[in-house]
Symmetry: none
């Protein structure tokens, strides 16, 4: 049973093997609807992590992008930095996806990796980098943080 379809929560620790493969947590695979055909789109995240989208979620993003004018600055840079590196991956019988060397390098991944559910997508992090990023963001935006928390969390 799942909370919501194609929706991911929780943090898991997994190992990246010498072939560049990493396991997608069984929970996440179960949350994935069948029309995704066991496939994700992996790409560069906006922090130093890898973003993993279910393909039908990614399709929505592409549709939205098509509607946006290229005159928009933010749109151009999002397309350039994110979409550019996107590639489709299907997980194997053991539930693993292969990560391209470019993305492994970008996310500074070693043997240990953290996989985090981010509601509509998944993030893959180097543990050290995530800790550092966390620390930074909490120092900077605590007031905006509280504002969001008051709005959303019961």
């Amino acid at each position: 049973m799942t909370i919501n379809n194609n929706t991911f929560t929780g943090e898991y620790s997994y190992t990246l093997d010498v072939k560049g493969r990493i396991n997608i947590p069984a929970k996440f695979r179960n949350d994935l609807t069948d029309d995704n055909e066991k496939s994700f789109v992996i790409t560069k995240g906006m922090d130093s992590c890898i973003w993993v989208y279910p393909i039908i979620v990614w399709q929505n993003i592409e549709d939205e992008l098509k509607k946006l004018s290229s005159l928009s600055n933010i749109n151009r840079s999002f397309v350039r930095n994110t979409v550019r590196y996107a590639s489709m991956v299907k997980y194997d019988k053991q539930g693993r996806i292969a990560i391209t060397p470019k993305l492994i390098k970008y996310a500074n991944l070693g043997k240990e990796a953290l996989i985090i559910g981010m509601v509509n997508k998944i993030e893959i992090w180097d543990p050290g980098l995530l800790a550092k990023t966390d620390e930074l963001s909490q120092k900077i935006d605590s007031s905006q943080f509280d504002e969001l928390a008051n709005k959303i969390i019961l």
Copy 2:
């Protein structure tokens, strides 16, 4: 008989077994509506405790989180921190849920644990930590309670 659906009150003392399982009080289970399918979402609380939400309550939180665009830095770190420790748990035939080692460590749980109804969610505490937190909050200026009094009639 229940007062309100998915609404929890009262304090109960339970034991965490060696497998990290803890009983959800029978009264709370009875208060849980069927559409939750015997499932909760457990996550880090704001004090050093564990928050336990009925699934349908958590779904509202997820829906709100989905509306936040990942283009914004603050949104990304907020979603990450909110969802990172959240996982769905279903209670077994005996009415127990399994608590992840990470959360046990965070809440500093030993064998004894207090389970407290917090209206729309449940809190799990180490008894010593709760006592200490209680003591601290008693010292807080009573003017803050006066402020609350303007919002809620008891």
